[in-house]
Symmetry: C2
Subunit: 219 residues, 2 copies
């Protein structure tokens, strides 16, 4: 448990143990919230003493930081790889971005909930610049594809920031309501959502009615 | 403080006091989460003793229930009134529904966050049938308008449940990221979102590309 005993084997086991702890912690943070989760809960579920847990993480803030950062790094790696593989076509990149991101929800819904909670607890948001940077990098991948789509005459909307925000909002809350045993997984749900938002859901008649001045008055 | 002293004046003051407590509690639940909020915080911010707080609410669960139920009742009343006033036209009713709902976010963002958290803390969800019922009633108002839109040939999408879920998802997270001093309020943001999702954001070229088989392969 001290520096001198950390041979290669011990260090490797420590990394694995750390990952297990982070995964258990993600689960507990997602169901109980940051304030409701305790080091005791995490240690108990990990089958270790609190002292052993302290060896890996000195406090709850550090475990939470590890949960969020590992999830965000995995997410950013997934969307970057997927959009790069999709090539130059902006629409293919937009679809690939959400396929990869929703795929992360399907693989790890509790980790997603735990890390998206970060943005929703106002106090915490201020104090984690690395988290904000990672989130900005994630959103930037989408915005670039949307902007290229606009520049190539595929996307008609000028406000790429707001459009990106809407699409990510839909994505973000999927794990909070989808039934784990429901007919659609997150990837399938997000594909449907994307089609709604990109192509619209109105018929020609509905579209004309939305655009006519009487419709504008009604709004 | 007991039944015999509750004259008309005292009872009226008690109602006002109760509303103040619920409003203060909404703020605290929204920033600290359910588990992080304490009766002590609420009593302190309300400028009362814990004993005085107990007079109104015997435990935290009861205050939280009051926060959620008062917000949901106000929301349901607002969307029902707005959609009724919008008349028979389904698109006008859909727009009115979101105008009224987003208006509630503008009036009381902390109350919105506190009550939408209910649906996101999985344990709590099971135990509050009245909350679930109120939420179902809220969603039903929208689904009826969407269904009428479909039946009248205005909405092309068959899966009204999924479409309604997407629109409500966008709405739900608005108070979590909008800057209180940003250029758009919740009502304006939601109008833009609705236009994206109803009319779509692609140009004719983009739309054709989304529908062509190569595009399908890319997905």
């Amino acid at each position: 448990m001290n520096g001198r005993t950390e041979g290669r084997g011990v260090r490797k086991r420590a990394v694995v143990r750390r990952e297990e702890i982070v995964s258990i912690a993600a689960d507990i943070f997602a169901t109980k919230g940051y304030n409701g989760a305790s080091l005791r809960d995490i240690a108990e579920r990990a089958g270790m003493t609190k002292a052993a847990l302290y060896y890996h993480f000195p406090d709850k803030e550090q475990i939470f930081g590890a949960v969020v950062m590992t999830r965000m790094e995995a997410l950013n790696a997934a969307v970057t790889e997927a959009t790069t593989a999709a090539g130059d076509d902006p629409l293919a990149r937009i679809l690939a971005f959400f396929d990869a991101a929703a795929g992360r929800i399907d693989e790890d819904p509790m980790g997603w909930i735990a890390s998206s909670n970060t943005f929703w607890t106002l106090e915490r948001l201020q104090s984690q610049p690395a988290v904000i940077e990672a989130r900005d990098a994630f959103e930037a991948v989408l915005r670039q594809a949307l902007r290229d789509g606009r520049d190539q005459g595929l996307v008609a909307e000028e406000d790429i920031g707001l459009l990106g925000r809407m699409l990510i909002s839909c994505l973000d809350v999927i794990p909070r309501w989808m039934k784990r045993d429901g007919p659609l997984n997150a990837r399938q749900i997000m594909r449907r959502y994307l089609r709604f938002a990109l192509a619209g859901v109105l018929t020609e008649t509905g579209r004309a009615q939305l655009d006519d001045p009487a419709g504008d008055d009604a709004r």
